[in-house]
Subunit: 198 residues, 2 copies
Amino acid sequence: MRPKNLEKEQAIRTVALDIIAKEGLENLSMQKLAKAANVSPRTIYIKYENKEDFLVKLFINEVLEPYEQAVLKDFSEQMDFADGVKKIWMNTFQYLKNNRPAFAIIQYSKSSLLLNKAYQQQNIQQGQFFAPIHRFIAANIKAGTIKNFHFDVYRAMIFPVLLELVSEYFDYTERPKQIITEKVLLECCATVIKGIMK
Amino acid sequence: MRPKNLEKEQAIRTVALDIIAKEGLENLSMQKLAKAANVSPRTIYIKYENKEDFLVKLFINEVLEPYEQAVLKDFSEQMDFADGVKKIWMNTFQYLKNNRPAFAIIQYSKSSLLLNKAYQQQNIQQGQFFAPIHRFIAANIKAGTIKNFHFDVYRAMIFPVLLELVSEYFDYTERPKQIITEKVLLECCATVIKGIMK
DNA sequence: GTTGTAAGTAAATAAACGTTTACTTATTTT
DNA sequence: AAAATAAGTAAACGTTTATTTACTTACAAC
């Protein structure tokens, strides 16, 4: 039996992410992808049932999982609240800054019905995608460090700000002056923490 | 000369927003839209050059402009910082809560290359889309009420949080317990303000 | 009331889409 | 080295897409 060419499999995935980042998810067609990855359309369908299956697996395996790992790197639930948030904050920024395709597809997942569904399902199946952060927040509420808001509210107060700053970081990389510097980022983080802490 | 049927024009726009909210922008085709609005495809092309032209005008005229007006209702640059932010915050929430299609299309504009471009251009042509808020922030920096961050950074610290809360508000309307209440919203706003103010 | 004309329709167009068919290739097993 | 078989290809499939063509309708102007 002829063995699978893993390079081709990888090419399909990386080229797909590249097209999404450069031309948008709305402009990714299976034929375009096959051509760009130098394979026959049929080759994609050996591994993936259909386009939906491909996109969902691409999103979860190539983006969400590495993203979660990067966000939680060197983070511990036992950390001091401010330190913990700062760690997550800078981890997230570092990862997204160096993975524009990942950032692009994450942005799409906020509106695309398909990717949104995939995200919700992943969140349910894996228990919680950001379970350690959930427990971190819960512990700090119990300890009285922070107010008793629902976890989803805390999520809303931390991540969207940061994602918007990443978006601005990319916008400004094509302009004379970058305003999203590491200093600004840390000050923003401190601002958010100051608001949240009792 | 036969006069234009304004009802049909309006039907096209409202049906389009409805499809985007319910089935997603990725599932809006000109033929589906024409059928749902009970007109011939050709009728859409009397007023709009092509699909892109239609979507951009829909976004700007039916969504962004009413959105800006609603956000700035009863807001004044001379307001106290906390009062001003609270006013904008609650205006935005009220508007989006009652205009799910508007919220849906605004979410799409964060990722869709087409709508994103439209938003940027509108922002440039109209001077600044949220010019009064820009001046409000600038005045408060000058007065020393808040830190000297770039306007885009302040924008990132206020609006994305709120949009995420609106997203969660809609998520929770289909569940037993709504967590995004007016009380929570006001407390979140206070939290954000507390962080930002010196 | 006839006429001019833009509004509007139904059906058709070509291009692009996701996916499949019919076939060839490369490798392991015998 | 021949057989077996999944990997892979090129070309084609039937649909759906955005847009247009050829035609009809409804009203203002005369």
